[in-house]
Amino acid sequence: MTISAREPDILARATLGDQSAFEELMRMHERQVLLTSLRLLGRLEDAQDAAQETFLKLYRNLRVFGSITEIRPWLYRVTVNVCRDLAKKRGLLAHETPEFDIAVEDGRVEQIGLEQQRVLLAEALRYLPDKERAAIVLREIEGLDTNEVAVILGSSAATVRTQVSTGRARLRGILTRLARRKHGV
């Protein structure tokens, strides 16, 4: 039996209070929720808290879903909102980065290693404004369609395109500055 054939059954069983079915439902979506949270918040502990809160919301709202395909976009939307609330509550995001420089300095970031780039990127994401960060994470990292991102963020596709474009430019500037400060490139 394929997983997709079992999915509606899982949703039905989870809705009726079957805990193992809900666990299975979590397994199906945990990567999406936890990684999105991590990219939005930057720290694994905070991301895990956000993911837990998101899944608890899913548990409380299981009856809302007519089919299992509705869960994925709903989870993205709730994840973004939960992360935003958690970041505000804990003061996680530092927008006071020194001199946001949107100027692109190609070549500098690429000089450092891949692992260092990842660390820098994760850190740089924290300095982006909320909406740009969410747009970048969903569009560029999660690979969602612009229209899907627009629906999740409650804005238009044109706005998402602008946010992604501005976010990328801003991110590159932040990355360059961080790379220069930390690795001297």
Binding site: Q19, F22, E23, M26, R27, E30, R31, V33, L34, L35, L38, R39, L44, Q48, A51, Q52, F55, L56, Y59, V109, L114, E115, Q117, R118, L121, A122, I136, E140, I141, R168, L171, R172, L175
Partner: protein
């Protein structure tokens, strides 16, 4: 610019799942405890109310009247017909007795009798 993030270790996902399940169980237990307390409280309230009612002094029975009044049957009322107004009957008056006035005079042998109709 490559958006390439490393995979997370499986333990990170396990922790999330475990946390969610624990929270759900805790909330279920809490809800069950709240229900139990509510049920016990309702039972105690019911028992207390029952005891209070039982301990109230009994109301003395109404005194039995030794005088029996004749039962008067209510006049049957015809519901379908409108009430009929009867003329009041003239009461029969018994014929008046003649009034006799006896006057005595100074002479004991003389008595005046008046008869008034």
């Amino acid at each position: 610019m490559e958006f390439d993030f490393p995979e997370l270790p499986p333990v990170a996902y396990d922790e999330v799942r475990r946390g969610v399940i624990q929270t759900i169980r805790r909330r279920k237990h809490f809800r069950r405890a709240v229900w139990t307390v509510t049920e016990v409280a309702a039972c105690v309230m019911l028992a207390a109310t029952g005891l209070f009612v039982l301990r109230q002094p009994a109301i003395p029975p109404a005194p039995v009247s030794l005088v029996r009044f004749p039962e008067v049957a209510a006049p049957a009322v015809a519901h379908s017909l409108p009430p009929r107004h009867r003329r009041a009957r003239k009461q029969r008056v018994a014929p008046a007795q003649p009034l006799m006035v006896r006057l005595e005079t100074d002479d004991p042998n003389v008595i005046i009798l008046w008869t008034v109709n």
